[in-house]
Amino acid sequence: MRIRLEKRRELSRVMLALSPIGAVVMTMIVGAIIFAALGYDGPRAVMEIFFTPVLAPYKWPDVATKAAPLILIALGLTLGNQAKVWNIGAEGQYLLGALGGAGVAILTKDMHGPWILPLMIVAGVAAGALWAAPVAWLRNRYGVNEILSSLMLVYVALQLLNYLVTGPWKDPNGQNFPQTAPYTPDQKLPADLFGLPFPPGLYVAFALALAFWLVMARSEFGLGVRIVGEAPKAARYAGYRESDAVWSTMLISGAMAGLAGVLETTTQSGQLNLGFPSGYGFTAIIVSFLGRLHPLGIVLAGIVLAISYVGGQVAQTTVHVPSATAGLFQAMMLFFILASDVLVRRRLRIEWGSRTAAARA
């Protein structure tokens, strides 16, 4: 038996757009089978993970809360993914964003004014970009593989968070818990806007998705990034420098992850603690691919992944699947979207026995 890939003559736009849906459906089917094989109620687990959060309106704020950081981080990562500059360390930049905000919060804890919150957000964005900067610099200056260096910095960021919240930034009145002092009202975003129970980060994410769409589709910069990724040689002739693409995509993705981090702490927990790292930075990579590297696709994909998080928690209590379940489904989604990406462009041909081989020869 031989498996061969053949190029499709015509690239179907419809299939291209539908492939993520196929990936999600395949994930549901295979997931149900795996969980059934492991002795759980597989179909019910899939039901709880993918449908309960959609069908139960009281779960929507939960979904929105998780979708906001995923969309924000994934938007930033998408630029890099298009340029084939791989930022795998968004989780670290996300942590730094939260730390940047927390640092300003500690400095301004006895102050008042509407300027504090914007300052925190700026600090978070800057800290996220700053954490990505060495990755870009090392890649451009010394040719250091950005995949490895950005990932290593995640572990450094985790230790930095650990050090700060158990040490110098620990809440003096916090009964020795590893957390910063609670943010003051001047340091917090409202938990809802316009009377709807969705966090402000969600609206920011939607607005930025539109902005990214415009920039990526219409600007010279968006074009340059794509060309560097798809045809590095052509990019050089056309005057697009790879090093510029490395700098800009790294800094933007770091800034976006930082923004997600600082928004998360200023809306949700209202302080920074050891439990803050959530893996959003890694899951956002899946969001970026599931969204087909398109800002609007990313909004949808972010919501789907957020649903799987919330649904995973539901399934833990109702079907008693372990906490790792959501992660497993997310990994499957990434596998299936990558596979369907290929299969949209190529046809898989399976040849049995020697007759077809002879016919080909």
Partner: protein
């Protein structure tokens, strides 16, 4: 954590020996995983999924070793062979998980970076899923198999005081170095990694060679994972490999894709990670412990920078590294 085998009477020799044993303990898993990944990358494939494959190996090895220690079978041959079966199971689990990546990256020609990451997330998830029923159980560590008397003398301990996996790791790095450089099959593998089109046109199966390499890398990563769950801390904990798979990936770059340097590099990293453990407890404790915990990762970045600066232009890395090969595409 059980890294230290110490417990001497405060003599400095004992301390040195304990430190040596710790270095070996810390280094062995990253050496194993990096040796596997070296072969994978030499064939032109970048599998970032090392961490995920290690976790698959860790849970498989633990589960099998634990099952064989069941009182019902402990006295039969199963009980005796338990740890060995555990290692075999770990290798099999690692190789099996690597096939997921292989199918994506080799058969379908999907993006290798993304496929590798998917494997990390998958390995983390599936190992936690299977591991839920093993949390909080300890097994007998898969320690030295030499007679006690050999390990009594301090030098004897340094030579014979390790798990068989340690000797296996030394053997494998030598074997891989010999295989890649001195055998015909190794030459073919390198050719596939350096120029896939030529290798294909001479009639070698590029995809076949790469599948074998990827599975070998998976098996080695699986055994590396088992070293965590069966030797260092003989129990199962979620994400217990704690990012060491990524260090192994950095190590391959550090080695300049050469087996000999891999051994040296692994022990260099191992020494640093041991320093971290000792520094926490000794005179360097004025620095926060988190600084020492972050040290190996910072070191990895610095070392990558130094090595990459010397290797600018990528002359050392296999030319086809990370590029999908699709014949007649």
């Amino acid at each position: 954590m059980g890294f230290s085998h110490g417990g001497g009477k405060g003599m400095s020799l004992d301390l040195i020996i304990a430190a040596l044993l710790t270095v070996v303990n810390i280094t062995t898993p990253i050496l194993l995983a990096a040796t596997g990944e070296l072969v994978v990358e030499k064939s032109g494939v970048l599998n970032l999924g090392v961490e995920g494959m290690m976790l698959c190996g860790a849970i498989a090895g633990f589960a099998v070793a634990f099952s064989c220690s069941d009182p019902d079978v402990a006295d039969t041959w199963l009980g005796l062979a338990g740890p060995w079966l555990g290692v075999v199971a770990a290798a099999a689990a690692g190789a099996a998980s690597s096939l997921l990546f292989g199918f994506m990256a080799l058969t379908l020609g999907a993006n290798q970076v993304a496929s590798g990451l998917a494997l990390v997330i998958f390995g983390t998830g599936i190992s936690s899923l299977i591991g839920t029923s093993f949390v909080g159980i300890a097994i007998q560590p898969f320690d030295s198999v030499f007679p006690e008397s050999l390990a009594e003398h301090p030098i004897g301990r340094v030579l014979f005081g390790y798990s068989p996996i340690v000797y296996f790791a030394f053997f494998m790095v030598a074997a891989v170095g010999w295989f890649l450089n001195k055998t015909r099959a190794g030459l073919v593998l390198r050719a596939v990694g350096e120029n896939d089109l030529s290798a294909h046109s001479i009639g070698y199966s590029v995809i076949g060679v790469r599948y074998m390499s990827v599975m070998f890398g998976g098996a080695m990563a699986g055994i590396a994972g088992a070293y965590f769950s069966m030797v260092i801390t003989p129990l199962w904990a979620e994400r217990m490999t704690a990012g060491r798979g990524w260090i192994a990936l950095a190590l391959v770059v550090f080695s300049g894709w050469r087996a000999g340097r891999l051994l040296g590099g692994a022990y260099f990293f191992g020494l640093f990670m041991t320093l971290e453990l000792y520094a926490k407890a000794s005179g360097f404790s004025f620095l926060p412990s988190q600084f020492w915990a972050a040290m190996p990762y910072l070191m990895a970045v610095i070392v990558l920078a130094v090595m990459s600066a010397r290797n600018k232009g990528g002359s050392q890395s296999p030319a086809c590294l990370g590029k999908p090969f699709i014949p007649d595409a």
